[in-house]
């Protein structure tokens, strides 16, 4: 069975076969060759993998992100961040990190953030003298903050796979997300001073006031979404629906930058992206089920238990495994397949599942921009027109910064759990 569950999928992955096809053919081959379970179970597992109310948040937050980039909301948020940051060394670089963080508080898709912020800020970064390598690395890596800052599709999927509260995961992601943003900004400031990047303009209160007035409805969007969840007005899934409606109303009637056909186009695009993601969820659920009935989680738990690792040692091993896996596997597959494998041991070692969810999410976020297969790298390549090799070298220092943040998040559970205590 190792041929159909390990050798075949890895070979197909390296050959560039679509991820859902890999899980599907691996599962089909196992069913046909090895399992005595009736093959109609294949349908039941995949249907069950998608028949989950919490998953509705995925299309809703993707739609909200699409609406945000088409309605002028994202552009106004970027202008506001620039006005806020003003005259600090590397202000445009720091604004890039800030814009990705702020947009991450509305959208759930990291790749969309890289595309939106990249298109807007990349020319300015090059003009300021950051260089192609640094600028493309900064944009590819900053987009990954989106995954840690709620609302986050990765957290929704983890919540589903580990049967944990998505609202608690969202709350737990806020401080770690801000820590990553802070550490990235600090690195940008240091590098801007070393590269002698000229400081842009100066802090102008009138400009900030004007930008705040213009971006007001856009700035209220994350406040509305997150406050709604934590004040108990709506569930995370319903929050996604409200975010879409809010973005349509603001884009259509306040900023007047969106026609109804633009709304339909954004919805169509969001539906297609949702299909790309959720078909992987369905097939990965099937693959994960086959691993489970064949005792892989138990074997893995037994193997790791026999090593007598303390919780910190286990978490370190998890980080190493996830960082390697994240280089080769997309976030959706990694979460759906690996979460059920890790959770028995997480519980056995007394590690808080919410804290573990944040550790997994941060690892997955780093995987989004680590060579060779980080999705953000390919988006940056397409949007910025920069060669892959240049981006590969550009992201490495940022990967080191984010791994440092990951270690802090891993060994300081209070950072993740502080805000969940209030729920």
């Amino acid at each position: 069975m190792i041929w159909t569950l390990a050798v075949l999928p890895i070979a197909l992955l390296l050959l560039g076969t679509p991820i859902f096809g890999i899980f599907l053919i691996g599962a089909v081959a196992t069913f046909v060759l090895f399992l005595s379970v009736p093959p109609v179970a294949l349908h039941q597992i995949m249907f069950g993998g998608m028949e989950n109310y919490a998953l509705l948040a995925v299309p809703f937050f993707i739609f909200a992100g699409e609406l945000m980039s088409g309605s002028g909301i994202a552009r106004r948020l970027i202008v506001w961040v620039l006005a806020l940051i003003g005259r600090i060394p590397g202000s445009l670089g720091v604004a890039t990190v800030g814009a990705c963080t702020l947009i991450g508080a509305i959208s759930g898709a990291s790749t969309a953030t890289v595309a939106v912020v990249g298109k807007t800020l990349y020319p300015g970064l090059i003009r300021d003298g950051y260089g192609v390598r640094f600028a493309s690395g900064l944009l590819s890596s900053s987009g990954s903050i989106d995954i840690v800052i709620p609302p986050s599709i990765a957290m929704i999927l983890f919540g589903m796979a580990a049967e944990q509260s998505v609202a608690k995961l969202f709350a737990a992601g806020v401080l770690p997300g801000l820590l990553i943003a802070f550490m990235m900004s600090a690195y940008v400031v240091i590098m801007a001073l070393r590269m002698r990047i000229p400081t842009r303009g100066k802090f102008d209160f009138a400009q900030l006031r004007a930008a705040t007035w213009d971006a007001g409805p856009a700035l209220l969007m994350p406040v509305f979404v997150l406050a709604g969840i934590y004040l108990g007005w709506f569930s995370p899934t319903e929050a996604g629906g409200f975010a879409c409606l809010y973005a349509i109303l603001v884009g259509r009637y306040v900023y007047r930058e969106m026609s109804w056909s633009d709304v339909l186009e954004a919805a169509t695009q969001a539906a297609i992206i949702t299909a790309q993601i959720l078909i992987i969820v369905a097939t990965a659920a099937l693959f994960s089920w086959i691993l489970t009935i064949n005792g892989v989680p138990q074997a893995m738990t037994g193997g790791l238990t026999s090593l007598n690792l303390p919780p910190w040692g286990f978490l370190m091993s998890v980080n190493v495994i996830l960082l390697i896996v994240g280089c080769f596997l997309d976030p959706t597959s990694a979460i759906i397949v690996l979460t059920p494998l890790f959770m028995p041991l997480v519980r056995a070692l007394g590690i808080d599942p919410i804290h573990f969810g944040i550790i997994m999410t941060v690892n997955i976020a780093i995987g989004m921009f680590t060579p060779p297969f980080g999705l953000n790298i390919f988006v940056a390549q397409s949007v910025l027109g920069v060669p892959l090799d240049t981006i590969y070298r550009g992201v490495l220092p940022f990967a080191v910064v984010q791994i440092a943040a990951l270690l802090i998040i891993t060994y300081w559970p209070g950072l993740s759990l502080y805000l969940t205590a209030a729920l």
């Binding site: 560039g16 093959p39 249907f47 299309p59 186009e265 954004a266 539906a271 299909a275």
Partner: protein, 181 residues
């Protein structure tokens, strides 16, 4: 094989029908998502503002999402936009690239065809026992049929892409031969 081999173009009418169908499916997906957003918001608003629960809204939303994913899967296969690590494909010369892409489509066609057959069998059983959803008594065969349609459509599209890839490979081979002195 004769040197002047000419690969016949697909009939114009068939191509036109396929394009119209794809356009209609895209518009349908967008409209479905907008409808789902409105139903979701209406459900939450009615609950908080009027203490009224829209019974079955959650079920309809989930079934709508499953249909959206399965129809979307067919469109993503047509556009060849599935998430994949296309590092190797992008580095190959044109002909090996076509061959490798054909192999990918073949894998998808086999997997999706098998899944379609199993889904059809399951949907048939559900239809036979007349299973309905818990809240609104919605016929579950309709929900389960989404997987039949999605996988069958994907298998069909992938098979067509294998054939068209083969045709492209043959025509590029003849074009290369024709260029030789």
């Amino acid at each position: 094989m004769p040197d002047d081999l000419h690969v016949p173009a697909p009939p114009a009418l068939a191509l036109r029908i396929a394009r119209i169908a794809a356009f209609a499916a895209r518009a349908l997906l967008g409209t479905l998502l907008i409808g789902m957003v409105l139903l979701n918001v209406a459900n939450a608003a009615c609950r908080y503002l009027f203490s009224v629960v829209l019974i079955g809204a959650d079920e309809l939303l989930v079934f709508g999402m499953i249909w959206m994913v399965m129809i979307g899967m067919i469109l993503v296969t047509i556009d060849q936009r599935h998430i994949a690590l296309d590092f190797l494909v992008n580095r190959l010369a044109p002909r090996p690239r076509i061959a490798l892409t054909m192999f990918h489509h073949l894998v998808i066609a086999i997997g999706a065809a098998y899944a379609a057959v199993q889904s059809l069998e399951f949907a048939w059983r559900v239809a036979m026992i007349g299973q309905t959803s818990m809240a609104i008594g919605f016929p579950m065969v309709f929900a389960h049929s989404a997987l039949v349609v999605g996988f069958a459509g994907t298998a069909l599209v992938a098979a067509v892409l294998v054939v068209s890839g083969g045709t492209e490979l043959v025509s590029s081979h003849h074009a290369t031969k024709a260029k030789l002195p």
